[in-house]
C-alpha cells in the first residue's frame, strides 16, 4: 500500500477536530475487523510468502518418516514459476481472453450507459434491469447455461464447434461479457446521472448534437469511472477460474492449467506441490497489485477522493 490514506482530501474542516477523546472506544469498535483481518488475511498472506520460499527435500527414495523434509529454497520457486512454459502459455491464453472480454464488456457497458442517458429513450427502466440482471446470476450457473447453448445437438445456433480449440476463447469471453456488462453499465450510468443537466443544455444551445455531447462531454466525464471499471475487470480477468473450470467437463479443449489460477489449484490440490503453488499465487498477486496501484495513482483524486 501507499503510505498516504486512500482518501487524501482536506475534508476535515467540518468540526472534526472537535472529535472526542474517546479512549478505547474506537479500538473496541474496530476489534472484530482487526481480529478477522489478522486471522484471515494477514496470516494467510504471510504464510503464502513463507511457503513460497520453501521446498520439499526428498532424501533417499522418499519413503519412510523423515525422508521428506522442508528446506529453505530461496527464490527458486519464483524462478521456476517465471520460467515455466506451461504457466506462460496460461498467461498468454488469459491475455487473449482478457483483451476480448475487456474490449467487448466495457465497450458495450459504455454504449448502453450512454443510450440509457440519451434524450427520449423508451423502455429505459425495463432494459436497464434486464441488462443488469446477470449480476444476480452465479458464474457457475451462467457458464452452465451458455455451456449447454454451445453444445452440438442442443445449440439453437446450429452445430458450430463453439467449444472447439478455435472458438473456445470467444465462447468463454461471451460468458464473461454476458455476466459483467450490466454491472459496469450501471457504474457508468450512475456517474452520468450525477452530471448537472445544464451542461447538456448549454451544449445544445451551442448547436451540439447528441453524438457530439456524448463524445465531447459525457465520455470525458466518465474517464475516471472507466479507468476504475477497467482495473477491476483486469484484476478479475487475471484471476479467472470459475468459468473455465466449469466449462471443462463439456470439452477437452480446456486443460487443467488453462489459466494461471487453475494451475495454482492443480499444483496445490492435485499434484500436492504447495510451494510452487504459493510462489505462483504470489506472482499473480504481484501482477494484480501492480495493476491496482498503478490505477490508484492515476485516479486517486477522482474515484477514491470523492466523499
Amino acid at each position: 500500500m501507499t503510505t498516504r490514506p486512500l482518501t487524501t482530501r482536506p475534508v476535515t474542516t467540518r468540526t472534526r477536530k472537535g472529535a472526542p477523546r474517546a479512549g478505547a472506544v474506537p479500538y473496541l469498535f474496530l476489534a472484530p475487523a482487526m481480529v478477522l483481518f489478522t486471522l484471515f488475511m494477514a496470516l494467510p498472506i504471510g504464510y503464502t510468502g513463507y511457503l513460497s520460499l520453501r521446498r520439499t527435500k526428498v532424501s533417499g527414495l522418499g519413503l519412510g518418516a523423515g525422508a521428506r523434509t522442508e528446506v529453505f529454497a530461496g527464490l527458486g520457486n519464483y524462478a521456476a514459476a517465471i520460467g515455466d512454459g506451461e504457466l506462460w502459455a496460461g498467461w498468454l491464453r488469459v491475455l487473449g481472453y482478457g483483451a476480448l472480454v475487456l474490449a467487448l464488456m466495457l465497450g458495450l457497458a459504455l454504449v448502453f450507459a450512454l443510450m440509457l442517458d440519451a434524450a427520449h429513450v423508451r423502455l429505459a427502466r425495463i432494459t436497464r434491469i434486464s441488462i443488469y440482471l446477470p449480476y444476480a446470476v452465479p458464474g457457475v450457473a451462467a457458464t452452465l447455461m451458455w455451456g449447454f447453448l454451445y453444445l452440438p445437438g442442443l445449440s439453437p445456433f446450429g452445430d458450430h464447434p463453439f467449444l472447439g480449440a478455435g472458438l473456445v476463447t470467444f465462447s468463454m469471453a461471451n460468458v464473461a461479457v454476458w455476466g459483467g456488462t450490466g454491472f459496469n453499465m450501471l457504474v457508468l450510468y450512475t456517474n452520468l446521472r450525477a452530471v448537472p443537466r445544464e451542461y447538456y443544455e448549454a451544449a445544445r444551445i451551442d448547436g451540439a448534437g447528441e453524438l457530439a455531447i456524448a463524445l465531447r462531454i459525457k465520455i470525458p466525464i466518465l474517464v475516471p469511472a472507466i479507468v476504475l471499471t477497467t482495473v477491476f475487470s483486469v484484476v478479475a480477468t487475471i484471476q479467472v477460474f470459475t468459468e473455465p473450470t466449469t466449462l471443462r467437463p463439456l470439452t477437452n479443449t480446456i486443460s487443467s492449467t488453462w489459466s494461471p489460477l487453475m494451475k495454482v489449484y492443480r499444483d496445490a490440490f492435485v499434484t500436492g506441490d504447495l510451494h510452487s503453488a504459493a510462489a505462483t499465487s504470489m506472482v499473480i498477486a504481484g501482477i494484480s497489485l501492480v495493476v491496482s496501484l498503478g490505477f490508484l495513482r492515476i485516479v486517486k483524486n477522482h474515484a477514491f477522493g470523492e466523499d
Binding site: P32, I131, L133
Partner: protein, 285 residues
C-alpha cells in the same frame, strides 16, 4: 442519434438508443429464457423438439432432481442460504461498526488501520485461499461450515463503503449534542447513528449476499463432503458427473434454473436498493 436532434425536431423518437437497449436486453434474457424452457423438456424432448418449444417434463425433472442422491440438492440450497445469509449479516455488522469508528473518531493509528483494512480490496482471493485452507486444516476446521463462513465476514470493500457513508451521513455536531446530554458512546452508536446508517447497511448486505452466493473458489477449495456444498459447487459436481451422460442433462438444466430463482427474485424485488456502486457519491441514493 445526431441526425435526429440536429434540425428543429422537437420530439425525436429516440429509436437508436431504444433499439440498442432492446438488443442488449434480448442478449441478456436469451440464455435465461432458454433455461426456463429447457427445464420443461423431458429427456427425449430436450434433443428432439425446437429450441423454444415448451416440453412436458418439468414435474418429472423436478422430481428427479429432488430425488438425486437422497435430495442433496435441497441441502445445497439450504447451505447456500446459510453461507450467504449468515455471512452477509455478520459482514454488514462488522463493516458498519468499523466504518463508523473510522469515520467519527480521531484516534492514534486511524490512517494505518484504514489503509490495512481497505488494502484488502487489492488482495486477490487466490493468495488467501490456499493458506486459508491449510490453516483451517491445522485447526481441524477444513471442510466445516466455519471454513466457508468465517473468511467471508470481513469485506474490505464494505468497510470502505460504510466509512464514506458514515462520514457523509452523521453530523459530528449531533454526536456532540448527544454527549453533552450524557449519552455513552455505545448508546450514541445504537440510537443516533445506526438509524442513519441503515441505507448503507442495506447496500452492504445485498452486495455481500450476492458475492457469497456466487462464490465458487473458496467453497470449492475448502469443502470435500458434498453435504456441505453450496449450490455453485454442487452444480459443478453435477456437471462433472453428468457431462458424458446426456441422461443427466435434464437434472443439470433444472438445477441451474432453480439456482437462479431465489437470487433473481431477490434482485427484482430489491433492485431499487441495488446500487453496488464503486464510486462514492452514488451510495447515498
Amino acid at each position: 442519434m445526431a441526425a435526429a436532434t440536429r434540425a428543429g425536431t422537437r420530439r425525436p423518437a429516440g429509436i437508436v438508443p431504444t433499439g440498442v437497449l432492446v438488443l442488449g436486453a434480448v442478449y441478456t434474457l436469451f440464455p435465461v429464457s432458454w433455461v426456463v424452457v429447457a427445464a420443461t423438456k423431458s429427456r427425449a424432448e430436450l434433443f428432439s423438439t425446437a429450441t423454444f418449444a415448451p416440453g412436458t417434463g418439468l414435474l418429472s425433472n423436478l422430481a428427479d432432481l429432488f430425488a438425486y442422491r437422497d435430495g442433496v440438492f435441497w441441502l445445497w440450497l439450504l447451505n447456500t442460504v446459510l453461507y450467504a445469509g449468515g455471512g452477509a449479516v455478520l459482514a454488514t455488522a462488522v463493516a458498519t461498526v468499523s466504518g463508523y469508528a473510522l469515520a467519527t473518531y480521531a484516534f492514534r493509528g486511524r490512517g494505518l488501520i484504514f489503509n490495512l483494512l481497505v488494502g484488502g480490496i487489492l488482495v486477490p482471493p487466490v493468495v488467501l485461499a490456499i493458506p486459508q485452507y491449510l490453516l483451517f486444516s491445522e485447526a481441524g476446521l477444513a471442510g466445516t461450515y466455519w471454513s466457508v463462513l468465517l473468511p467471508q465476514i470481513l469485506s474490505p470493500y464494505s468497510v470502505y463503503l460504510a466509512r464514506i457513508y458514515a462520514r457523509a451521513a452523521i453530523p459530528a455536531s449531533l454526536l456532540e449534542a448527544g454527549r453533552l446530554d450524557g449519552a455513552g458512546e455505545w448508546r450514541l452508536f445504537r440510537r443516533v447513528s445506526l438509524p442513519m446508517l441503515t441505507p448503507a447497511m442495506v447496500t452492504i448486505f445485498l452486495f455481500q449476499f450476492v458475492a457469497i452466493w456466487n462464490n465458487f473458489l473458496l467453497p470449492f477449495i475448502m469443502l470435500g463432503d458434498d453435504h456441505r456444498f453450496p449450490l455453485t459447487v454442487g452444480l459443478y459436481t453435477l456437471l462433472a458427473a453428468g457431462a458424458n451422460q446426456p441422461s443427466l442433462y435434464n437434472l443439470i438444466i433444472t438445477g441451474t434454473l432453480l439456482s437462479l430463482v431465489p437470487l433473481v427474485a431477490l434482485f427484482l424485488t430489491m433492485q431499487r436498493h441495488w446500487r453496488a456502486d464503486l464510486s462514492g457519491g452514488a451510495v447515498k441514493s
